[in-house]
Amino acid sequence: MDQSSRQLYWRKNLQYLAFLLAFWFIVSFGCGILFVDYLDQFKIGGFGLGFWFAQQGAIYFFVLQIIIYVVLMNRLDRQFGVEDKGADQ
């Protein structure tokens, strides 16, 4: 793998991270802590929305974020031909 495609691969990776970590921050620290009182005026089932994010929703989104990350990175690895085939290749 040459230097420029290595750099491109890394830059793509950093873009994904920036996007996913921003998403991570918004659902947890944003919705669950900083804006929790504001969001509580909206209802989702028997929950205030802020309370739901704080005690349920953020966790579901965390799982979703890792799934998105795994899919994006596996695709990126294949595009650049850098996937790790393991010891038995």
Binding site: R6, L20, S28, I59, V70, M73, V82, D84
Partner: protein, 569 residues
């Protein structure tokens, strides 16, 4: 069968299973002892990580803590799950590409320095012992209540089981027992939750029952009922926060970042075959953890409603049997201040009566099946589950301590000439000694399980996380920055915690805290200090050598990790 028979048979069966697995998966080489030969399938690694990670604090204490904290309990819920996103995105794949045995290995190699390695070893051992102390108290509580043996005997039995599979099987034995332990603990956690949710709301799935209407015909939702009961008895409303937003923010961040810096979790990502497996096993781990973590707040709310409904103004004579069971071992304390023979359970804002009841947070989960009058086998299940949670975490931590001593200190630093056989023997002896020390903590336990564990996170957040992330994402980072960062980070955090918890506990309140940050949340500030110190020191000292910069380049790309895994099978 009666309750005791169920408890003995379920706990006995689960112990027999762990020992059976240990015999089947003995470790023959250091590679198997430290990282299970590097060929654990990602789903199995996810299960093992989940059990490794979910300790007595998660299983026994957390729902209870939330039950008493209301919305503020979110610090544990988000704090102990959000870190997996950081782990998956910032650490796991790169550690797997690096592909060695321990966290100090990475620090020592990346920072081309045995000083950095030794500092990392000291941090790892310090964090692991803090954490293991919390597990041992959990083991003691379960034994003393459920098996009616004295706490000391209980701890010795627990240690005996861990000794057997950790010393014999190392990481390989631990991994497969943890897979079994996850199954035991999640089953034990979910069954009573389904029952209780169904009884209270007609909706068996606790995550949904939590937001449903109560089945008592009142037309109120669980949370509305809980808010009104709480306010009536002089407590703060359940769905409101009491802690300052800043403190909630800092505690949550410390727990998240700490998760991503805990050595016993990080080493799990060395055990999978490929880089892609490291990413996906972090996802599996979080999925398995989320199952318990989204159930816990539902249990908290149900249990709180049940308790307020049952005991708030109950005549002492008519107290149910669980009340006296837990009272007899001191986890429920009743003091009839006005002598009327009625248990007045009141919050700080009550005007009619003084509070006469103290309920220990740790019993919410353990007593929940009894409070909800579930069948005897469910109670046995809870006992087996609590032990599974405590033992699986204890074993993972003991392995970190043993590999730190045998691999990082002896083999890599002081006596590189020892053979693999000698190293393996040392690792086993170190694991044995660590178990004895952990047993001592079990018999002379420190404070609350979850509290003690929360400190381990602060320390991990302030020491490992910054040097590892900077080591991967910033090529310029050098050894001077890393060493001074780790020392200032962990030093500051430990000093702050020790000052407020042990030296001057009377000053431990918001007006004396630095910037209003509690000792639980100070790890976040410790981490920021670590980062600032690392960056400043790095910029005024020489660049790392060329081969280190290439090393960083190489761990950023997955290809070749499988072959590079230098393991002797």
């Amino acid at each position: 069968m009666n309750e005791t028979a169920w408890i003995f048979s379920l706990v006995g069966l689960s112990f027999a299973l762990y020992i059976g697995i240990a015999i089947w998966s003995r470790a023959g080489s250091t590679g198997e002892f430290y990282v299970a030969g590097g060929n654990v399938p990602p789903v199995a690694n996810g299960l093992a990580t989940a059990a490794d990670w979910m300790s007595a604090a998660s299983f026994i204490s957390m729902a209870g803590l939330i039950s008493f904290m209301g919305r503020d309990g979110t610090v544990y819920l988000m704090g102990w799950t959000g870190g997996y996103v950081l782990l998956a995105l910032l650490l796991a794949p790169y550690l797997r590409k690096f592909g060695k045995y321990t966290v100090p290995d990475f620090v020592g190699d990346r920072y081309y320095s045995n000083v950095a390695r030794v500092v990392a070893v000291v941090c790892a051992i310090f964090i692991s012992f803090t954490y293991v102390a919390g597990q041992m108290r959990g083991v003691g509580i379960v034994f003393s209540r459920f098996l009616d043996v004295d706490i000391n005997t209980g701890v010795v039995i627990g240690m005996g089981v861990v000794f057997f599979y950790a010393v014999l099987g190392g990481m390989k034995g631990i991994t497969y027992t943890q897979v079994a332990q996850y199954c035991v603990l999640i089953f034990a956690y979910m069954v009573p939750a389904f029952f209780i949710s169904f009884m209270m709301t007609d909706m068996p799935i606790p995550q949904l029952g939590f937001g449903s209407e109560l089945a008592d015909g009142s037309g109120l939702s669980v949370l509305q009922k809980l808010d009104s009961l709480s306010t009536e008895l002089g407590f703060d409303p359940y769905t409101d926060g009491q802690k300052s937003t800043l403190d909630v923010f800092f505690i949550t961040a410390a727990l998240m970042v700490g998760t991503a810096g805990l050595p016993h979790v990080l080493v799990r990502f060395y055990t999978v075959p490929k880089v892609a497996d490291a990413r996906s096993s972090a996802g599996w781990a979080l999925l398995f953890i989320a199952l318990l973590y989204t159930t816990a707040p539902a249990i908290s709310a149900f249990a709180r409603t049940n308790i307020l409904n049952t005991v708030a103004d109950m005549p002492y004579e008519e107290a149910p049997s669980w009340f006296s069971n837990w009272e007899s071992i001191g986890l429920i304390k009743f003091d009839d201040k006005n002598g009327d023979g009625i248990v007045q359970y009141r919050g700080p804002h009550a005007t009619d009566f003084k509070n006469e009841l103290e309920i220990d947070k740790d019993i919410i989960v353990l007593a929940n099946p009894e409070i909800a009058q579930l069948p005897a086998w469910v109670i046995g299940l809870i006992a087996a589950g609590g032990l599974a949670a405590a033992l699986s975490t204890a074993a993972g931590l003991l392995l970190v301590i043993s590999s730190s001593v045998a691999h990082d200190l002896l083999k890599k630093t002081f006596k590189p000439s020892i053979t693999e056989k000698q190293e393996l023997l040392t690792a086993r002896i170190a694991a044995g000694i660590a178990i004895v020390i952990a047993g001592y903590f079990g018999i002379n336990p420190p404070g609350f399980v979850a509290q003690v564990v929360a400190f381990a996170f602060g320390l991990a957040a302030a020491s490992f996380f910054p040097v590892m992330v900077l080591g991967i994402f910033w090529k310029r980072m050098n050894k001077y920055g890393a060493i001074s960062g780790m020392i200032t980070g962990i030093g500051f955090t430990a000093a702050y915690i020790i000052f407020f918890k042990f030296v001057s506990p009377e000053l431990n309140s918001a007006e004396h805290w630095l910037l209003g940050i509690s000792p639980e949340g100070i790890g976040t500030l410790g981490m920021l200090i670590n980062i600032v110190v690392s960056v400043v020191i790095t910029l005024v000292t020489p660049k790392p050598p060329e081969e280190i910069q290439q090393f960083v380049e190489s761990i950023r790309v997955p290809v070749g990790a499988g072959e590079a895994h230098e393991l002797s099978a």
